[in-house]
């Protein structure tokens, strides 16, 4: 067996999985708290990437150095995306909170289409080059043919974000409020949790993560257009379901499993069947664990 090749595929799958995981975290958080599949999440990721592109171009013109451009562009993208996430929730989901569950779902799909077309009209339908904001680290040079600095940074960011989120939910006040809202919204309200604020916070955090993903992934791939959010969103959503939607470590695990499946299917079988393998795996896992790998199966109270 060719171990170097195996290892390259493993790392490639890890990067791809981390990309899915960064976006999947937003899906899973929102679902965990209000049981809504936020289809507009992929679009928030795309808007984050666009904002970072515009900011990076402006900052580069002002003559800033690479690191400052990366940090400032990310901050601008995070703020902008968070604002979008906040607004989308207020406009499209909050008025429908008491409505049947299908209504906010349709509203989410509508929001997704709206945001895509908004960027298409306001910006362009063309592919745009995205500068590699992540610098090539010098000590990485000897192994650059196996894994690039950008890939390492994507993997590390995903790990750090996952740990921080878990800590936030387990040990902080807002985390406790989130768990309470997730368990029983009206009971949480009765004991004095400001449910609206908790939900808004969730959207803001999820959207900020999508923006981080947007900056890192676009800078790794090197190009963006208005449609990138759709495909990334579908794959990330699949990862979230695979890992157990609602579970933070589940989203990351789901992303990794999906990334590895695709990478090894391409590497050892054929990339023609990449998606076939990915979705066949999804079906198999859902047959044996309907709630996903790390999902808890909740019994409905009658």
């Amino acid at each position: 067996m060719d171990w170097e090749y195996f290892f390259e595929l493993l790392l490639g799958g890890l990067t791809r999985g981390s990309i899915y995981a960064l976006i999947a975290l937003g899906y899973t958080m929102v679902y965990g708290i209000i049981e809504l599949i936020n289809f507009a999440h992929g679009e928030i990721y795309m808007i984050g990437a666009f904002t970072a592109l515009i900011a990076a171009n402006v900052l580069t013109m002002l003559g800033m150095n690479e690191l400052a451009v990366l940090v400032l562009a990310s901050v601008v993208a995070i703020l902008y995306s968070a604002a979008y996430g906040f607004t989308v929730e207020k406009i499209a989901y909050k008025p429908l909170r008491q409505a049947p569950r299908l209504s906010p779902l349709i509203s989410a799909i509508g929001m997704s289409i709206f945001l895509q077309n908004y960027v298409l009209l306001a910006q362009t339908s063309d592919f745009l080059p995205f500068p590699s904001l992540i610098p090539e680290l010098e000590f990485m040079e000897p192994i650059a043919h196996i894994i690039s600095s950008a890939e390492v940074i994507i993997i590390l960011t995903t790990a750090v974000v996952m740990i921080l989120l878990t800590l936030l939910i387990k040990y902080t006040r807002i985390g406790k409020a989130m768990r309470a809202t997730a368990q029983d919204r009206s009971m949480a309200m009765l004991v004095g949790v400001n449910v609206n604020r908790v939900i808004s916070t969730t959207f803001v955090i999820g959207s900020a993560l999508a923006a981080v993903g947007g900056v890192l992934i676009a800078s790794h791939i090197g190009m963006i257009n208005f449609y990138i959010g759709f495909i990334a969103g579908i794959k990330a959503f699949t990862a979230a379901v695979l890992g157990g939607i609602g579970s933070i470590p589940g989203a990351v695990l789901g992303g990794m499993v999906l990334g590895w499946t695709e990478s090894f299917a391409t590497g050892y079988v054929s990339s023609d069947y990449e998606d076939v393998f990915a979705f066949a795996l999804l079906v198999i896992i859902l047959i044996f664990r309907p709630a996903g790998i790390l999902g808890r199966s909740t019994t409905q109270k009658v």
Binding site: R16, L128, H145, M223
Partner: protein, 378 residues
């Protein structure tokens, strides 16, 4: 009465046939008749009308300046086939019985194929400005057929010839985007490489358009030890694959198609685009005959020419030139002239190979040099 009617019809048909065939010999004295067949009405008329106009312009000019060919005026016989194979056979029969000496047409590949058998039986040289189906020339079934457009597989042919002969590559990875266009080209490229003795396809893969990254495919190319990549598809996937290859320190040549010969590719891939090869239609914008043809069209019809206009203009010029050189409308003479004489047309200086494809028409290899696609000299 009924039987008598049948006899009459048969007699008439015989008469038409006899006069039709003898008409060919006798027409040496009369005008030279050029049939123009294609879609002139219906929803595909916009593909056929420009050919009629091109033929009209060429013939009018020839008649005015030289009084036709060897003192014989040239006449056009225009027949509509609506791009339908079942109607094209009638169109062909009509042109044959009207005594056409050569035919420009048909427009659609399907209609052309249906009509060709009839022309072939009558030994009529037929030249299409637009039928791109590879089998029309390559099957060898229609030695009377020529065309002034590159066949569908011409890009793949050029890519493979360039990779193997100019660059001396031996092991090629062929990748496509699973679409009609990209996969079609990739299949031809694969077949052409396999037909060669000293080269092989070491990897043949389809990638999913729009996927977030292609690192696994790139690793696979690397492992296959290919010394070049041929990609069939469009520029978004091409730029992602090229960028990931270059980032993984793979600098083997990347050869692609018209879908990648687009400035957006260079804009997106930036420095990584440098050195990438792509095939594209030959540049005719600087050709003086093409400029003149477009001016003539504007002067006579008051608008810009439509689809395949220059191809049809070239076909008309090539046919008239062949008749002129042969000194007659004799099939063998025209065939010989088409295959041996170079003629200056809006598409460049061309002649035809023995299969009927135009040499000098079609695609050129381009390479990205200093942020621009540059046409490479052959």
């Amino acid at each position: 009465m009924n039987r008598f009617g049948n006899v009459l019809i048969t007699a008439a048909a015989v008469l038409v046939l006899v006069f039709g065939v003898s008409g060919m010999a006798a027409a040496q004295e009369g005008p030279i008749k050029v049939g123009v067949a294609g879609a002139h009405s219906g929803d595909l008329a916009s593909y056929g009308i420009p050919t009629v106009r091109a033929a009209t312009l060429v013939v009018e000019e020839r008649n005015e300046q030289f009084g036709g060919i060897d003192g014989k005026k040239i006449e056009l016989l225009v027949e509509d086939d609506v791009c339908k194979p079942e109607i094209a056979t009638n169109t062909a029969t009509k042109l044959v019985s009207d005594g056409a000496h050569v035919v420009i047409g048909h427009i659609c590949s399907g209609a052309t194929k249906a009509a060709l058998g009839i022309y072939n039986d009558q030994k009529l040289v037929t030249m299409s400005p637009s039928a791109t189906n590879p089998a029309l020339t390559q099957s060898g079934d229609y030695p009377n057929f020529y065309r002034t457009i590159a066949s569908d597989d011409a890009q793949a042919r050029l890519q493979v010839d360039y990779a193997l002969k100019e660059m001396g590559l031996k092991k090629l990875a062929v990748i496509h985007d699973k679409g009609d266009y990209g996969k079609g080209l990739a299949e031809f490229a694969k077949k052409f490489i396999e037909d060669e003795e000293n080269a092989e396809v070491v990897l043949y893969e389809g990638v999913t358009p729009g996927a977030v990254d292609y690192s696994a495919v790139v690793q696979k190319v690397k492992r296959s030890d290919a010394d070049g990549v041929i990609f069939g598809g469009y520029h978004p996937e091409a730029s992602k694959i090229v960028m990931q290859m270059r980032k993984k320190k793979m600098d083997i040549p990347f050869i692609s198609d018209d879908g990648v010969k687009d400035d957006t590719f260079i804009k997106v891939a930036g420095e990584y685009a440098e050195g990438v090869y792509a095939t594209g239609p030959r540049d005719t914008s600087k050709n003086p005959i093409a400029k003149k043809a477009v001016e003539q069209h504007k002067a006579k019809y008051g608008e810009d020419p439509g689809a395949f206009f220059l191809n049809a203009y070239a076909a008309a010029m090539a046919l008239l030139n062949a008749i002129d050189v042969a000194g007659s409308t004799d099939y063998d003479g025209i065939t010989k002239a088409l295959q041996s004489e170079f003629v200056a047309t809006p598409l460049g200086i061309i002649r035809f190979d023995e299969r009927g494809d135009a040499i000098g028409i079609g695609f050129s290899m381009y390479q990205v040099q200093n942020g621009k696609y540059v046409e490479l000299e052959e």
